[in-house]
């Protein structure tokens, strides 16, 4: 089994490396992304006041501070996660309006300083609890999203169209006449694409990281593990689409149906905190959401294996499920 798998894997790698057009495009896209990120995020940060309010606070009308204009109030349930946001300057202030009222402010944050004045004007008795910590810029928060988005496109479209091309040309039919099983064939495709994705993601990580001056707070090996499991899940998802069909239009349409909701709902561009519960539920069905949640936890908060284990397990389970479904529904030839 391993021998057959390696034969197909080796041949697929040779094919990819010699297909100069695709190779150049695959490497050019990340470089363009790096340059684009440099342009977009080279300028100054945009001012915005955000105040976290710990959940379960009393009637909003009883607190004049909560009626302040030009301030966005975000309800947060988890106190430790909320405190982390103050530390990273993702929110400018955190308030707990239960008696006695308390608030946390980052003494390194200029915006925190101003919002603190507003709070004290409305709630003079609020108890101050200072914290410190450098800002996590939007660009730092977006960085894992860009890596994940590129990974998603490469996973879904990269393998989907290759398998479709093999089926249409009759190459799959020829392979079917050998002892090769669908599972072995699909595994070889997954591994070939996985190697490519890890390589391209590493280029992006180093390139964009250098341009924006990103510092990873967590363990790099854990990030690699997350990249492997996340890419496996998304490649296998792409294979479930390509496993059966023979029409480029249909496969292209189905892949778009998968990618666009992930683009919008997996938290590439903005956090889903505060969005309706059903949106969050739907978002957590997508593998990309788990990749991004875990990547941000590691890269921004320095989370370890125990914290992201549920995400890793979800990704590993979906990878196996998608691969098994793909092998089950696989068609070697055009019906």
């Amino acid at each position: 089994m391993i021998r057959r798998l390696l034969s197909v894997l080796h041949a697929r790698n040779l094919e990819f490396l010699r297909d100069r057009g695709t190779l150049v495009f695959t490497l050019l896209l990340p470089v363009m992304l790096v340059i684009g990120m440099g342009f977009v995020f080279g300028g100054p940060e945009r001012p915005l006041f955000k105040v976290g309010v710990l959940a379960g606070h009393p009637d909003r009308q009883a607190h004049p501070f909560l009626r302040e204009r030009y301030v966005e109030f975000i309800t947060l349930a988890d106190e430790s996660a909320a405190l982390r946001k103050v530390t990273h300057q993702q929110i400018d202030l955190l308030v707990d309006l239960h008696a006695p009222p308390r608030y946390w402010v980052n003494t390194d944050s200029p915006k925190g300083y101003i919002v603190e004045k507003l709070l004290l004007a409305a709630e003079p008795a609020a108890v101050r609890q200072p914290v410190t910590g450098a800002a996590v810029r939007y660009v730092d928060w977006l960085f894992p999203g860009i890596l994940g988005m590129n990974m998603m496109f490469s996973c879904l479209f990269g393998v989907g169209y290759v398998v479709l091309r093999y089926r249409k040309s009759g190459f799959l039919k020829r392979l079917h006449a050998t002892p090769l099983t669908a599972f072995e064939f699909l595994s070889a495709q997954v591994l070939s694409r996985l190697g490519l994705i890890l390589f391209v993601t590493a280029i992006l990580y180093l390139g964009i990281g250098a341009i924006i001056g990103f510092h990873n707070a967590g363990n790099l090996l854990l990030l690699v593990l997350l990249g492997v499991v996340g890419a496996l899940s998304m490649i296998a998802l792409g294979l479930t689409i390509a496993a059966r069909f023979s029409s480029e239009e249909l496969v292209g349409g189905l892949l778009n149906v998968l990618t666009w909701p992930m683009m919008l709902l997996s938290g590439i561009w903005f956090s889903l905190e505060g969005s309706p519960r059903w949106v969050q539920w739907v978002a957590h069905v997508f593998p990309l959401t788990h990749v991004l949640d875990a990547a941000r936890a590691v890269m921004l908060d320095g989370a370890g294996l125990p914290q992201i284990a549920p995400n890793l397990l979800y990704l590993a389970a979906t990878a196996l499920a998608f691969l098994a479904f793909g092998a089950w529904s696989f068609r070697w030839r055009i019906e």
């Binding site: 057959r4 034969s7 040779l14 190459f171 392979l175 006449a177």
Partner: protein
């Protein structure tokens, strides 16, 4: 000899002919039983049965649309039958069959950007046992092309590569679906020479073709199919002997006077010529001379499989 597979086990009181048939079936590498393939609008194969003995080159002949490719693809395990079954060495097609079968499809694309050697090596890696890649390259005369991109081969070279891939597992049974269709005459003859060297290795070969010359040259036994059914089966010489004890005289149609059609001759109409089948060549020639039929372009030849097909179906083999 082609033997029809029989469902009923033969007891001790079976006839000598039936016993011979049973022995042949037990010697069969492949048995095809009551095969049916129904597509939504077409009955492609309408219940065919035959068995392929060890070590023969077995031809499936017929015009386009006769059901040859559908039959061979069911035998290869590529297409599922609507009814009936194919057994390899007495067992349903399974892993052993896939390990021991070599297949050359009518149309096959290989993986892009691979050289001839790499394409062969890819398939060699899919089998547990087989020939060395260099040996297959030598066998199919691909030494000078081993480093070339497989997409840059001529038609004949491409077929030799596909044959090399079909031979890479040193197959016990080799399927060739119209292997020389589309090749120029020289490339076709080269391929036939290659096939004869493979035949010399006592491989069991199943070949579909609509080139009668190819079937006469290579096949030990044939099945002629038309509209999904078998219309004749047996060794080519025996079939010809059974249907043509006579020789054929050919005359161009425009040189054959209408009045001559009234002569007491066995006249067969072909597309551009008139054929006369006869036991007594001298008497027939005398009759034609007396009727003043011009004989300048007369051609006398023994019957071939093309004639057999015409005789059996009333139509030309290649539409």
């Amino acid at each position: 000899m082609v033997h029809v597979a029989r469902e009923n086990p033969l007891g001790s009181r079976a006839s000598p002919q039936a016993r011979r048939s049973a022995n042949a079936v037990s010697n069969a590498v492949l048995e095809v039983r009551e095969l049916v393939k129904q597509y939504p609008a077409t009955l492609a194969v309408a219940g065919v049965s035959f068995s392929v003995p060890q070590g023969v080159c077995f031809g499936l002949l017929g015009p386009n649309g006769a059901g040859k490719t559908t039959t061979i693809e069911i035998m290869e395990g590529i297409l599922p039958p609507t009814a009936g079954e194919v057994r390899y060495r007495g067992e349903p097609l399974g892993n052993r069959f896939r390990e021991e079968a070599g297949i050359l499809f009518q149309k096959t694309a290989l993986q892009d950007f691979l050289t001839v050697r790499q394409s062969i090596a890819l398939f060699r890696g899919l089998y547990t046992t087989g020939l060395d890649v260099d040996e297959v390259i030598r066998l199919c005369a691909l030494e000078k092309l081993a480093g070339r991109d497989s997409r840059k081969l001529s038609g004949g070279q491409q077929q030799r590569l596909l044959l090399a891939i079909a031979l890479v597992n040193d197959p016990a049974v080799l399927f060739l679906d119209e292997p020389t269709t589309g090749l120029d005459p020289q490339a076709r003859r080269n391929f036939w020479e290659l096939m004869q060297s493979i035949k010399a290795r006592r491989k069991t070969i199943i070949l579909t073709t609509h080139y009668m010359e190819e079937a006469e040259l290579l096949c030990d036994e044939i099945v002629i199919m038309d509209r999904g059914r078998i219309i004749a089966q047996g060794p080519p010489r025996r079939l010809l002997h059974e249907h043509f004890a006579e020789v054929l005289l050919e005359l161009p149609r425009q040189e054959f006077p209408a009045a001559a059609r009234q002569l007491p001759l066995n006249i067969i109409d072909a597309s551009d010529r008139v054929e006369i089948s006869t036991h007594d060549l001298e008497a027939t020639l005398r009759t034609l001379l007396e009727a003043k039929v011009p004989l300048t372009n007369l051609r006398i030849r023994p019957a071939n499989l093309e004639d057999l097909f015409l005789e059996l179906t009333g139509t030309e083999l290649r539409p």
